[in-house]
Symmetry: C2
Subunit: 369 residues, 2 copies
């Protein structure tokens, strides 16, 4: 079985070794991790555990940094629903990178994208969702002096002329091959990647000098940045560097989806709702208690496990214990879910407190024309 | 021999009867002209002489007007060079319609279009040309209280979200069939018609109620408005009405082109330069003086004649005399060109005076985000 990974569809067997090869990514080497650790004083669990597993030109970013040529960070969100836990994985690392490397962050809310790609959504809805999602970003504690959040439609006077420069260099043929468009794709979908390219060089435009760009993102977004890397040098800018994370698996198996409610825990869920979602999750467990006690379960296919591994169990010994308990059959899935639900519930209470506070901070982060 | 008429290419034998049929236009009937004359008190020569020869829903525009439901006007310019005389034909009628019907005018400068379609032009150049061309528009005497001129890149925060609504409804397949795009077309070209659709409904968006729109334009722009007429009703707006003029033939035969200098007289030409261009023009004359004296010339294929007919000889008797002189061989092409050059020279001196004055009026006409 093969896989499909585009910004709008992820399905099949996500064989990350194959993705690295097919996309032309580089694996993050131990040597690179050591260089990051040297500058940061520590390694974020998402790096240490290789949730961020691949990159493009991260070595160059560090070369430049070591020459005191600082990079900026660029990441974003397609606002098609409330934020779920999977969306936040790149944001957690981005926040850490901002803290450790003193980097400016440009955060793009692609309300235009979600409007043209989603039949049921109006532009008013995607815009409203962008504002909701921005609260989650701010709640993670980004530095208000170093972080700019913008909606594509509200920043269009700045973005659109730059997007045209990318668009002029991109044929339908290339867009089709990269994203899998057909003749029935709408012309907004076809144009969109031009807009997603812009933040990778906008700070260079605005400051009148080339600044290296590092994009932490879930691997499904890579096609956009392949386009950007191809075209930006033709416009006189650096190729953006990037660092890719594996997808947090959905609770139903498959991809987490902001529009398929049962597939994920959302940041706006009450602890009770989150618990219900987690308790209903697919797992790597056996058909009967007896069998599981005897043979153990398979955490490598279990979304509950990956919630611990990627987000809710930063302690390495604790995680190793859990793996042993799972494999050895000494913990059953119900209990494992219960324990996770407690951790998730605590996170949600705290996150929602910060999210509420973010409402009064919003204007400090937003940039508009 | 057949013809090609798209917004970016006009070639072949412009058989306007065939164009009317192929494009699905309606001929402007005597009855319609009478209705216009009733309201305006007179008929503009461009209407009387059927330079504006076809329309879509002009009858509906008059129906609404007669019910005191006023229309607005929309026309524009693709700034790929200085303005030539051919560009101004729709503007002259638009000015007359504004005066006679008290209509608001939205004038679009598509600096984005010319950038993505023309290899050699930068966005900075098309923007600069848009400002140059705007002076020609203002010089024609449009009412500053009722006229809004905008550049697509400077008004993108307003235009882009509306363009997305059109883009979402337009497939590549339809764009390809309408404009003749290929897989090698760039994604900016493919998206662009969405932006050209926006002024046809933007006043309705801004005022929160549907307002009829009438678009005077050269017939080569019709494909854009076929798209707009298909999609706008799906967004809840009226189909825009339109009125089409024949192309002023180029001095070399073929289309006048803002980027082929010898093909037209430009508003920025000195009278001497204009005279040189006109004297070098292709005509409907014979190979020898003797032959022309004997058989007369063919004004129906002569760009010099069409300059008189469309712009520089509003008096019907004078034009009829000229036609007789030409057909009868009593005037030779050299003299006919001389006489035209005098009229054009006088026009240019006066136009350039107004154009100079327009520099101080510009800001009153421009709208930006």
């Amino acid at each position: 079985m093969t896989y499909i990974v585009t910004p709008w569809k992820v399905s099949g067997d996500l064989d990350y070794d194959k993705i690295v090869k097919d996309f032309g990514l580089d694996i993050i080497s131990e040597n690179l991790l050591a260089r990051i650790e040297k500058h940061a004083g520590e390694l974020h669990p998402l790096l240490k555990r290789k949730v961020f597993f691949a990159h493009r030109d991260l070595d160059w970013i560090l070369d430049e940094y070591e020459k005191d040529h600082r990079f900026f960070l660029y990441t974003g969100r397609g606002p098609s629903g409330q934020t779920h836990l999977g969306h936040m994985i790149p944001w957690f690392l981005t926040k850490w990178l901002q803290d450790k490397f003193g980097a400016e962050l440009w955060f793009q809310m692609t309300d235009d994208e979600k409007f043209v790609f989603k039949d049921g959504l109006t532009l008013e809805q995607t815009k409203k969702l962008a504002y909701e999602n921005a609260l989650d970003v701010i709640a993670l504690g980004f530095d208000e002096k170093k972080t700019k959040i913008f909606l594509d439609t509200e920043y269009a006077k700045t973005l659109y002329p730059q997007a045209l420069k990318v668009a002029k260099r991109l044929t339908f043929s290339t867009a089709k091959a990269t994203f899998g468009f057909s003749n029935e794709s709408n012309v907004g979908e076809i144009f969109f990647t031009s807009v997603q390219s812009v933040p990778a060089f906008l700070p260079s435009v605005l400051k009148g000098k080339n600044i290296p760009c590092l994009i932490p993102h879930a691997v499904d977004q890579d096609p956009h940045f392949r386009v950007a890397r191809d075209i930006l040098p033709k416009l006189g800018y650096y190729k953006p560097a990037s660092i890719q994370n594996k997808m947090l698996p959905g609770l139903k198996g498959g991809k987490m989806s902001a529009s398929d409610e049962g597939s994920a825990v959302y940041t706006t869920d009450s602890p009770d709702t989150a618990k219900k979602r987690l308790m209903n999750s697919f797992t790597g467990g056996r058909d009967s208690i007896k069998e599981q006690r005897e043979k153990g379960a398979n955490y490598s296919i279990c979304p509950i496990y990956y919630h611990y591994q990627q987000l809710f169990m930063p302690n390495d010994n604790a995680l190793a214990n859990l793996e042993q308990e799972c494999k050895g059959g000494s913990i059953l899935c119900g209990e494992c879910k219960q324990r996770l639900a407690e951790r998730v519930g605590k996170f949600l209470v705290e996150h929602q407190r910060k999210r509420e506070k973010a409402k009064s901070q919003l204007e400090k982060f937003l940039v508009r024309d």
